[in-house]
């Protein structure tokens, strides 16, 4: 207890310097908390994707289509419980800036492979039973004021109808909800594949991707290989991967989050190491005489070592805790922004534990040089410098 008092006393005796150091540490851990927390939050969403779910796309890339016939051939593979398919429609509402993610799907099966969707059975039946129907995430429907039974025209960025028009009329069949753990912002408008396929001018009988549910996670690996082998000599070759891996790959197309976390955090921590490390060396050098006096009074080398290491640890822990606290605040504010497209951002225990680990490491490393110096300090030489 008295050591804690001594440590805090020494830490805050140069208030401005200490506050600056704490702020620097806080910023480093704010950056770390935000990036690592973001990464972990996404990871948490991926981890909810069942391990027995696969995605098959064109091997060129996922924007290239696959023949519709593949769907039934996939369904025939042993161990495939169900398969569904979807197309990217590329929609907007009224004006091009109102982009509306829209999938043309097999209405009977799609919702069984979309775990994030929670839909009222009545709405589902109305959607399945009406060829020109569309359903939308609740947030989107509220934003545009769509009511059940409304005629809603969506424009496609890609597909004209046979008559050349890019405007596609739909009947609004209701809303669905997105389960909280998948985040507020996701979700697409769903329309019927058949309705879309028959009316489009080009691309007939192509699907964008196929989602497969295997009977078990063990079967999934084998099925993935079998699917790709099945079409290895066809015009359109396939690449089948687990849905989780596909999602991750999709997100990491532009940036690899994990490597950004590593890069930026390393830079931040290295800076802290230099700034705090240097400040600690200077602070303890200024106190050489005091250390010698403490030793004269009977403070042992180990105790002094501990006091100094405690000081750098306290500094980094205070700054780091503030940084994580600020991260949590930002995450909770972000989650209240309506329609944000991110998964629910949270500081998970693993992120906090890792951050605290880095704090302890940084605290020890920054304090080590002066602490060892003070431990070894010879009283006679230090006091001799009168």
């Amino acid at each position: 207890m008295t050591d804690v008092r001594l440590i805090l006393h020494n830490l805050f005796r140069k208030l401005v310097r200490t506050l600056l150091l704490i702020t620097a540490t806080m910023i480093a851990f704010l950056i770390y908390g935000t990036l690592a927390g973001f990464d972990e939050s996404i990871e948490q969403v991926y981890s909810k994707i069942p391990a027995d779910r696969l995605i098959t796309v064109n091997t060129i890339n996922f924007t290239q289509p696959l023949p519709y016939a593949y769907v039934n051939r996939v369904r025939a593979i042993e161990g495939v419980e169900r398969a569904s398919h979807a197309n990217w429609f590329g929609g907007y509402y009224r004006e091009e800036r109102n982009q509306v993610a829209t999938f043309a799907v097999d209405p009977e099966t799609y919702m069984d492979v979309a775990p994030e969707i929670r839909v009222d059975p009545q709405v589902r039946d109305r959607f399945v039973g009406t060829r020109g129907a569309m359903i939308a995430p609740r947030r989107l429907a509220e934003q545009y004021g769509w009511q059940v039974g409304d005629q809603v025209s969506l424009f496609s960025n890609i597909f004209p109808r046979e008559n050349g028009s890019y405007a596609w009329p739909f009947e609004f069949a209701g809303v669905y909800d997105i389960r909280a753990e998948y985040g507020e912002g996701g979700g697409a408008v769903l329309i019927h594949y058949d309705y879309f396929n028959e009316a489009r001018r080009f691309g007939r009988d192509d699907v964008g991707w196929i989602t497969i549910d295997a009977v078990s996670p063990e079967a999934a690996d084998r099925i993935a290989e079998e699917v790709d082998a099945l079409f290895a000599n066809s015009r359109a070759q396939t690449e089948t991967s687990s849905a989780a891996a596909f999602q991750r790959g999709f997100l990491e197309q532009s940036i690899s989050i994990a490597s950004v976390v590593t890069l930026v955090s390393t830079a931040g921590f290295a800076t802290i190491l230099l700034i705090v490390g240097n400040a600690m060396v200077v602070a303890i050098r200024e106190r050489t005489r005091e250390v010698a006096v403490l030793k004269t009074l009977g403070f042992g080398g180990v105790r002094i070592f501990r006091l100094i290491l405690g000081e750098s640890l306290a500094l980094v822990l205070i700054g780091g805790a503030l940084g994580l606290g600020l991260t949590a605040l930002i995450f909770s504010m972000l989650s209240q922004v309506p329609g944000n497209p991110l998964p629910p951002l949270k500081l998970y225990p693993i992120t906090i534990a890792t951050a605290v680990g880095y704090m302890v490491l940084l605290g020890i490393v920054t304090g080590l040089i002066p602490a060892v110096g003070a431990w070894r300090l010879k009283i006679v030489t230090a006091l001799g410098r009168e």
Binding site: T296, L297, G298, F299, G301, V380, L383
Partner: protein, 231 residues
């Protein structure tokens, strides 16, 4: 006479400076009787501080024995010596060496942080020590808010708070005016007389030296006084 609280026996001490060996003490022997108040005078560089450092276990002899209360301490390790100092030796410095960021009371409390006393007991002992040096009303002052004489009194309070038997003072009045110096010397006399502390005080000032009960003179690493030379 009672047993000596400390005894140096055949102590040799030298320093190597730039390849050249300078011998400060060559087989120095001296007894410090329990309850003594000794002043040590001598020219600069005669080895006064080195002697105090050896007595206080801050420095080690090259040869010879240093005996405290029947125990040889010259071979002890750093941490054992630190514990021994905390319990048995109080240091008083010429330039006070107080912690500038701490109040007088916190400075005085420092040696008690090495004990198992409760916070309450520590407060009580700090109050007593400050009372002995007549600074009860300055407990919350920082060193820079105190005069030199007052700072030295805080230094003395710190030296006695853990109730050590031996006080080592290196030119405790060297930086003070006459009046403040006299106050400090009166306190040291009181500690020696009434609280039975053994005091070894190095000083340049003959007037200060005369306040001790025994005056010794050190020159070129040797005591020139007959009674020590006889030992």
């Amino acid at each position: 006479m009672t047993d000596p609280i400390m005894r140096l026996e055949g102590v040799c001490k030298g320093y190597r400076r730039g390849g050249e060996e300078i011998q400060i003490f060559d087989r120095l022997t001296i007894d410090i009787e329990t309850g003594a108040f000794i002043s040590i005078m001598g020219p600069s560089g005669s080895g006064k501080t080195t002697l105090l450092n050896l007595l206080g276990g801050l420095d080690k002899p090259d040869d010879g024995r240093i005996v405290f209360d029947g125990q040889e301490i010259q071979g002890w390790g750093e941490s054992r010596l630190a514990k021994w100092r905390a319990a048995n030796v109080g240091f008083i410095f010429q330039f006070y060496n107080l912690m500038p960021s701490m109040s007088a009371a916190r400075n005085v409390e420092l040696p008690l942080l090495l004990t198992n006393y409760s916070a309450k007991e520590r407060r009580r002992r700090v109050a007593t020590a400050l009372e002995v040096v007549g600074l009860s009303d300055r407990a919350r002052h920082r060193p820079r808010e105190l005069s030199g004489g007052q700072q030295q009194r805080v230094g003395i309070a710190r030296a006695i708070v853990a109730d050590p038997r031996l006080l080592l003072a290196d030119e405790p009045t060297g930086d003070l005016d006459r009046q403040s110096a006299d106050e400090i010397l009166s306190i040291l006399s009181l500690l020696n007389r009434d609280l039975n502390k053994t005091v070894v005080m190095v000083t340049h000032d003959p007037q200060a030296a005369s306040r001790a009960r025994q005056e010794l003179h050190l020159d070129k690493g040797r005591f020139t006084d007959a009674q020590v030379a006889a030992q």
